[in-house]
Symmetry: C2
DNA sequence: GCGAGACGTCGAAGCGCTTCGACGGAGAGG
DNA sequence: CCTCTCCGTCGAAGCGCTTCGACGTCTCGC
């Protein structure tokens, strides 16, 4: 193994000079730097990560905790992960993968052993025991998603309230007057981080603001439940012409159900969804939708973390603006 | 930060004794060990990963390279990843996540900086440039999947040949005499690691052995292509009563296509597939299938790696036996 | 023309841990 | 009873890097 002293000798300088040339923490003359770089290349030197971490108390590694819970859309998680890794590399950091399974112990372990410099945690519960821990840890962290109260933490996610509003504005702009929201399973509204609630709030507020008649319907993620909701909606609100769906698995079944009940999409009923583009695109009727901007969220999380690692301060809340992609499932009210 | 010398002082022993108590590399008396453990707990000591890595030249971290390529079924990749992380933890190791994007440079970097002790690489190409690199690296590695020739490397995967055979045996056992294999897109047979080819070999060999009439049909992953293949099959082989599908995205469209042509599944046509259970289960007709045992493969990869890290030797090739789950899509020939 | 900085480099002191050789004491074997 | 071993522990020497203070050399302003 070639080490920094080898490089130093080869370049005719001291090890500290090599170190400074590498880190840029002190000025080094152009010529010396060049010589050092040449030596590094010739000898094939790469600094030992452990030694570096020990001496500098920086490991240049981030922890990423991914969720395993049922009901999570796996491809989206993967997008987050990939985007975090890619962004981290831009800052010359690597990413250690932790599963939720490891829980608090895992977080504490990687933080306390200084294996990682900072943590990114996905998918926290409303009252997650890890919140307290994250606050107490001596390492910065960023949450993807929002807990009950983000006091003292740093969170980033899609602005679900704005997403709800945007869907409604779109439907209202097309002339729809009676709309419904088919949401996540009831337990999500209890258990999760409030993103579902915030979507509802945005949906309702925008509907009111636009003078629309609206209603909200949590729904299990099964085709049968979708059928039931469709029937119920048509029975209770026969004038319905617009629907917002926030429940990936039943998007297609729900459209099928409506069509089974004699409603054409988008002829009789306009449908928008909050779901991955890929799902919206390949539905039988491509669906006008708002996607979770996984890549942006991941990159944003890393940016925030780096700012904190650099001694800067990050806002507690970062909300990403939703972008609506218009597809074939919405049209002006007949 | 509390360090090993603090623990040593608190327990009234020398730092080396604490180290040996922790690692078990030298015998420590029962009583001393107890005292040390108590001190560790009281002081909340956790060893510094960097220092440990530097002194022991072991980081206790594995690298996992995940694929990003199109056409890869993301949930399966995730299953691999989770299983690798979980298994690694059992050996007190962590997992560093790399994307394929980083390529050779990434592998070299984490290996040369001693950031990781060993590597797991998923989804290699037939003639992957990384193969040479992995052979040259001073760190052990395990491949998930098979390259052209595994000389000097360690590979693990589902035994696709046996999977092909198993599907055929199942159909043959049900009395089917004319069967077809609808496979991956043509480019997969060119590009990839031979798992597709091996499936074909198993399929054909078993068909011959059982005196069945068989044919193989690569197929693009689009519903249109599926429809075309279905038509072609019925035209060319009117006596067809059994089909094996190895192409996740078109499993459902293909069944739809057959039914559109007047064939009932399984009444007129028995269908088996190589695909994730989740896909097989939630199809309109639940499909008899062989799943990629992602959890086993991941765990197996880690086991192999640990063996190599421990100075042991690992077989070049590890094939996992396929398991066929019988569902509603197959029945005895009418 | 001279002091004050700034620049570029060096040497040495760690960072916190593991590991090697050494050593006293106890038990075993002759 | 004496030596030989093995057991349990200690001290010291690194592992390879960063960083701090120091020092000589320029440059610039007045």
């Amino acid at each position: 193994m070639v080490k920094i002293t080898d490089v130093a000798r080869h370049a005719g300088v001291s090890p500290s000079t090599v170190s400074y040339a590498l880190s840029g923490k002190r000025p080094i003359s152009e010529e010396t730097r060049r010589r050092i770089e040449a030596s590094i290349r010739q000898l094939g030197y790469s600094p030992h990560a452990g030694a570096r971490a020990l001496a500098s108390s920086r490991s240049n590694v981030l922890a990423l905790v991914i969720p395993l819970r049922a009901g999570i859309h796996v491809p989206v998680v993967m997008q987050f992960a990939v985007s975090v890794v890619t962004s981290a590399r831009q800052y010359d950091h690597d990413v250690l993968l932790l599963t939720q399974e490891e829980g608090e112990a895992g977080l504490r372990r990687v933080a306390d052993t200084a294996l990682v410099d900072a943590l990114i945690v996905m998918d926290l519960q409303l009252h997650d025991p890890r919140l307290q821990l994250l606050r107490a840890l001596d390492r910065p962290s960023v949450l993807i998603g929002f807990p009950q109260s983000p006091d003292g933490l740093t969170c980033i996610d899609l602005d679900f309230r704005a997403a709800g509003e945007l869907c409604v504005e779109h439907l209202a702009g097309l002339g729809h007057r009676v709309i419904g929201l088919v949401g996540s399973p009831p337990e999500v509204y209890v258990r999760e981080t409030g993103f579902a609630q915030r979507l509802v709030q945005g949906f309702t507020a925008a509907a009111d603001r636009n003078g629309l008649s609206s209603s909200v319907h949590p729904c299990e993620s099964t085709p049968a439940a979708a059928r039931q909701v469709a029937e119920q909606l048509l029975r209770e609100r026969p004038a319905l012409t617009g629907v917002v769906v926030h429940n990936e698995p039943i998007l297609e079944p729900l459209i099928d159900a409506f069509e089974g009940l004699g409603l054409q999409v988008p002829g009789d009923l306009s449908v928008t969804a909050i779901c991955p583009d890929e799902l919206a695109e390949r539905a039988r009727v491509p669906v006008t939708s708002i996607a979770i901007p996984a890549a942006e969220v991941g990159a944003g999380a890393v940016d925030l973390l780096m700012k904190k690692l650099g001694g800067g301060t990050a806002p507690e809340v970062t909300l990403l603006s939703p972008r609506l992609t218009v597809r074939a499932s919405t049209m002006p009210r007949p």
